[in-house]
């Protein structure tokens, strides 16, 4: 049977180069970068080299890069670290309704600790409006955190404009670039952000490693305490092998980004065209300001989990924003914020394409999906026009 992985927003397979870059650090080059002896010095030298290469890929300086255990930790450090550092300046934080839970739940936790939280709404395409931010921001605002590109619907936010508004009022600007990095240009000088989160496993690197970019001169409070690693900000012995794999994956991803975009966008458009020509199927997210590998559709009168299971049996791996797949039995907060009906969120399906995706894979999806939809619709007591 075919096996087609179309869930690259969840995670990507590690690329060979990243794997090879890690192996020495899992075996003979095992030194602790904090040790003074030759074993330690060798590891330190390589971690510093990785930091330089990562910085270069983001157009940052090496001292601005802090390695973390992933995107989630980077988001937590940015938000909680700013809140701790600037609590005497103000207690207002602004984010958007479509953030990843790593940002949303962190901001919500602060809201229970005396901080005031504003969650900006989005339009039907999932876009945050700069004018809404301009209205919400006050002199009390210490941080604005808006993601670069959304993990569910792929909408790309106008970061440069949003960051400019934050800076005019003296607030810091953080962006979660976990989904955008490698797919669209990510240049910290161009985006004008103060803080930026990234994760290795979304760009063909290893799981459990990421980074926080902290613009020079920006001070963060600690969220964890221990050793002096990562310039006292992120204590704990470095994940040396992970960092080496991440650096290799990121430098390649940055170099290949224009090609990656071309490859993915062509396949994305082919899949969108094929799916939206089926009866009662509509596109979710922005038609243009969209990640090149993201296709998110709502298939009416079909439930998302049944679709995932059926596609899985045909060898196709995808995900859904249906309440039935969420664990909490709530539909996707992103689709809800975009104003979709529960019914449409229920039948939502996300395909996220990657490096290995081919036109033949897309043809195969378009070949099997009509039968699956038909089978499930026939099984359903809800008929067209009845909902």
């Amino acid at each position: 049977m075919r096996s087609i992985y179309l869930d690259h927003a969840a995670t990507t397979p590690m690329r060979q180069e990243a794997y090879e870059a890690m192996i020495p650090y899992l075996t003979e080059k095992f030194g602790n970068p904090s040790s003074i002896h030759a074993f330690g010095r060798a590891a330190r030298k390589d971690v510093d080299g990785a930091r330089e290469r990562v910085a270069k890929a983001l157009n940052a300086a090496p001292q601005e890069i802090f390695f973390t255990s992933g995107g989630t930790e980077a988001d937590n450090m940015a938000i909680l670290g700013t809140a701790a550092q600037l609590r005497d300046k103000g207690k207002h934080i602004i984010t958007s309704a479509v953030e990843h839970h790593a940002v949303l739940h962190t901001c919500e936790a602060l809201a229970t600790q005396g901080y005031r939280l504003t969650m900006l709404p989005v339009d039907k395409y999932g876009m945050v409006s700069p004018s809404q931010l301009a209205k919400a921001i006050t002199d009390e605002t210490i941080l604005v955190s808006i993601m670069h590109a959304n993990n569910e619907v792929g909408t790309i936010q106008p970061i440069r404009e949003l960051a400019a508004i934050a800076h005019e009022r003296g607030a810091l600007f953080h962006t979660d670039a976990v989904q955008s990095l490698g797919n669209i240009p990510v240049d910290v000088a161009d985006l004008q952000v103060d803080l930026l989160s990234a994760s290795a496993h979304k760009l063909y690197g290893p799981k459990g490693v990421g980074l926080l970019y902290v613009r020079k001169g920006t001070k963060l409070g600690n969220i964890a305490y221990g050793g002096a690693q990562e310039r006292n900000l992120r204590p704990g012995t470095e994940n040396v092998a992970g960092i080496m794999g991440f650096a290799r994956a990121l430098e390649l991803a940055a170099a290949e980004q224009p090609e990656t975009y071309e490859h993915l966008a062509a396949l994305r458009d082919k899949l969108i065209k094929g799916l939206t020509s089926l009866p009662a199927v509509s596109l979710n997210g922005h038609p243009q300001q969209r990640l090149p590998g993201n296709v998110n559709v709502s298939i009416e009168r079909v439930e998302g989990e049944s679709l995932i299971l059926s596609l899985d049996m045909a060898g196709i791996a995808v995900s859904s924003g249906s309440a039935c797949t969420s664990g909490s039995l709530e539909p996707s907060h992103v689709l809800m914020a975009m104003g979709l009906s529960h019914q449409k969120a229920h039948g939502s399906l996300r395909f996220t394409l990657g490096k290995s995706t081919s036109a033949a894979d897309i043809d195969y999806v378009l070949e099997v999906i009509p039968g699956i939809i038909q089978r499930l619709r026939q099984m359903s007591p809800v008929q067209a026009g009845q909902e």
């Binding site: 439930e303 049944s306 309440a323 039935c324 529960h342 099984m379 359903s380 007591p381």
Partner: protein, 124 residues
């Protein structure tokens, strides 16, 4: 996440569809939280469920429990069928993930509703 039995009933559901000569119909759930199940039963003069069909809009567990309950109660007197619990249905499927237990309620509730509908019809 799901047992092989759940996947089998999801992939090859038993007794899907409608029953034109049904004398009891039960519909439960609501579209807002996602699950809708409709059960059609045909009860004969001996008060036995002679035939049964279902239609379900919902997750894999909802479809599998619908299918399983039709298998369990087909040929059963209604007095026994109405005692079938959602736990029993889940056990017959070799268990369900905890978060999916509510989907099995749907099947048991739809059956009770269908039997009630049949009884109301008999009174009339």
């Amino acid at each position: 996440m799901y047992s092989e039995k759940v996947m089998d009933h999801f992939q090859n559901p038993r007794n899907v569809g409608t029953l034109p000569d049904a004398n009891g119909v039960g519909e439960v759930g609501n579209i807002r939280c996602g699950d809708v199940m409709k059960l059609y039963i045909k009860v004969n003069e001996n008060q036995v469920i002679e035939d049964i069909k279902f239609q379900t809009f919902g997750c894999g567990a909802a479809i599998a429990t619908s299918s399983m309950i039709t298998e369990i109660v087909k040929g059963m007197p209604i007095s026994e069928a109405e005692k079938v619990s959602n736990r029993q249905v889940a056990e017959e499927l070799d268990g369900l993930p905890p978060v999916k237990m509510h989907c099995s309620n749907l099947a048991a509730d739809a059956l009770k509703a269908a039997i009630e509908d049949y009884r109301q019809g008999q009174k009339a």
